[in-house]
């Protein structure tokens, strides 16, 4: 029983996909203009993630290793198409708000990352729980950022006026606000977290994801925290001299 809870906790807090692993930043930045959009996007991604983890985990002994990535992509794309059609049919207003970002769940690093790092090695039940944990972590991060942006940008949360009208700083619901709010949330998390523990988490979290996701290099929290000058830069200079 404990290992099931551990999975949920892991996704929600310890390896929060957005705030700790820095995966799936594109939809996170794009749709967090309102708290409600954050929930909508988070839950759509959660649904796709749970089902894709389940299907991939069930098929993990059937899919040959060499063609596993194309196979995963087809599975995820089919699930995303189903989700898209369902949202279009039953939640048209959400569909309007999220627009292009619903089909783009296909290329969300979190989904392929979890398939590769977790679902293809573990049992269906554990994989589903991993999907739920990660999906909830994603939803929580998006809702938090959405609420902050909505409050600062328009003075509302979930459409309820909290600050007097006219106090909204429009910049926060515009694109720059997304970068700023996420930068500050991550900075606050860095400040709270114990550095060594976090470094360990970043290492174990990146395990296996790097080959899949372009954010592999954003593990730079690791290299930046070392007090030494960045080794990458030295390499680059050495390469140029050759």
């Amino acid at each position: 029983m404990k290992k099931y809870w551990e999975r949920l906790w892991n996704g929600l807090v310890k390896e929060n996909p957005v705030l700790v692993l820095m995966l799936g930043m594109c939809p996170a930045l794009a749709v967090s203009t309102q708290a409600a959009n954050g929930i909508g996007m988070g839950l759509s991604t959660l649904a796709v993630l749970v089902l894709s983890n389940l299907v991939i985990s069930c098929l993990r002994k059937v899919i040959p290793d060499q063609v596993r990535l194309p196979a995963y992509i087809v599975i995820v794309a089919s699930l995303v198409t189903v989700t898209e059609l369902l949202i279009k049919a039953y939640l048209p207003s959400l569909y309007e708000e999220l627009g292009i970002y619903i089909p783009l769940i296909v290329v969300n690093c979190i989904i392929l990352g979890r398939a590769e790092a977790y679902a293809n090695k573990h049992t269906p039940v554990l994989s589903m729980l991993d999907g739920i944990g990660m999906g909830l972590g994603f939803t929580a991060a998006l809702t938090l950022a959405g609420a902050i942006r909505e409050l600062l940008g328009t003075g509302k949360i979930f459409g309820a006026q909290l600050l007097p009208e006219g106090f909204g700083m429009t910049i926060f619901i515009q694109p720059p606000g997304a970068f700023l709010v996420f930068a500050l949330i991550i900075a606050v998390m860095n400040a709270i977290g114990i550095k060594t523990r976090q470094r360990k988490l970043v290492e174990s979290g990146c395990d296996g994801n790097c080959s899949l996701c372009a954010s592999a290099a954003s593990c730079d929290t690791k290299s930046a925290e070392e007090k030494k000058p960045d080794p990458d830069r030295k390499d680059a200079k050495g390469g140029e001299q050759k």
Binding site: A30, P175, N190, L212, S215, S218, T221
Partner: protein, 192 residues
Amino acid sequence: MKSLIMIIIAGALINNVVLNQFLGICSFLGVSKQMKASISLGGAVIFVITIASAVASLLYDYVLQPLGMDFMKTIIFILVIAALVQIVEMFLKKKSPAVYNALGIYLPLITTNCAVLGVALTNVQDGYNFIQCVASGFGTAVGYTIAIVLLAGIRSRINEKDLPAPLRGAPIVMIAAALMSIAFMGFGGLNL
């Protein structure tokens, strides 16, 4: 002709794919550590997005729509992009190993770059014809390259500064991106 130039400028500057639409953020934050790598990645992205939008446009107009299968576009496009990246990779490996080595790992990673799929899908949504699709793909990719190269330049300076510990790494890069995004909002005033 004039409208094509407008599409390119709008794609590159006004609706900058990274700073305005948040597509391709993963590689934008991940690869912009080094100037050289960013330029290589930018080149590869221009190449792949232009070809991918051309192929996606042809497929949509002549295969998916006549068959009434528009709802399959996400699956078809992502497969086409993955296959295309593979073909480009094999072609470059054979014909110009120098370029292939320069692009290195970034070429296969483009498959999961949401900018590629995003452009293909928005083109179709906007009802562009073949030529317009290619122009918009090219413009968007140029915008991506501009953004990532600029950020790489800024980051090479950030690395030399003594920052407060919590801001090191991702947060300061995102703050820099926020300032760039504010600057790019200025292009919104362009009257095309």
